[in-house]
Symmetry: C2
Subunit: 150 residues, 2 copies
DNA sequence: TAACCAACGTTGGTGCGTCCAACGTATCAC
DNA sequence: GTGATACGTTGGACGCACCAACGTTGGTTA
């Protein structure tokens, strides 16, 4: 893949937030291309993966689990339901809620997209040794951990 | 700042591209808030910083220097010119081109936004030691370097 | 029981960053 | 001179993230 990095401003080349942004943009491009093969996007994968891993949930809970706004969950679930990857059923115990469950087809798509994601990691981290990959993962995890507990 | 990290899908918690995306999103939020104080956005900063560091250039060259599409450069330069931060003048040597130069005010705004960016780095990297910050920067640089030379 | 507040799904809209296609104009290489 | 290329510009698209508001339903408290 052709990835032409911006040349400047030179000062940004050593600015962590810029490097982070660039690396994430590149990773996102790889991921996006991989997902395009399934004609789905990031939101769909997050939802399918969450359903596969943690089971059925209301839309609001799904949104919280995946870090997606309630309103965006609606649209994504519409897409997934339209393709039979997910089932939306009213919750008899609480009529405000819809219970979303993955279908067999949905679980299969989640599995294949997961493979795509795994392949992308290898592409992305190709220049780093195993130790360095762990280092990077650890540093990023620490960063996020810290900022999520304000 | 309140940053509520998504809970799941659990598998993503250790996926580098996901961590990268999350960290970049958070950094972008910090940067965006800082820039909002100047009523400007990322594109504007990149352009102003590039002009300050590497001097005047045509819009196309600016786009290449900053990694911004030509068409997006047009709009951003319109904004900057409208605020007197930048001057757009036809290039006498090549009538296809506009030469964009930073004004004094533009240079000053670039400087102040640069300070904002520096402050954000400190916020962002707060949980990491000096050594770890250098490590992170090095790893990300290696990553980008590798992928930009395909 | 009635009043109130909170949570749910949904609609519609905003913003930023990125990218692409197409046009008319100007320049360069042959 | 002709054809390819670069330029600025317009107008549009997409993905992700976010917000305000509404009607409906549920829980809490007076």
């Amino acid at each position: 893949m052709e990835f032409t990095a911006p040349q400047s401003p030179a000062g940004l080349h050593t600015t962590p937030s810029w490097l982070l942004n660039q690396a994430a943009t590149y990773a996102g491009r790889l991921i996006g291309e991989g997902f395009a093969a399934h004609d789905l996007r990031g939101y769909h994968y997050r939802l399918l993966a969450s359903l596969a891993e943690d089971g059925p949930a209301s839309q609001a809970d799904l949104g919280r689990r995946c870090g997606i706004d309630r309103s965006d969950v609606v649209a994504a679930i519409n897409d997934l339901a339209g393709r039979g990857l997910v089932v939306r059923a009213p919750d008899p115990a609480d009529r405000r809620r819809n219970v979303i469950s993955s279908t067999e087809a949905g679980a299969e798509v989640a599995r294949r997209m997961g493979e795509t994601v795994a392949r992308v990691q290898d592409d992305l981290l190709a220049p780093l040794s195993t130790t360095e990959r762990a280092q990077l993962t650890r540093l990023l995890t620490r960063l996020l951990e810290h900022h999520s507990r304000h």
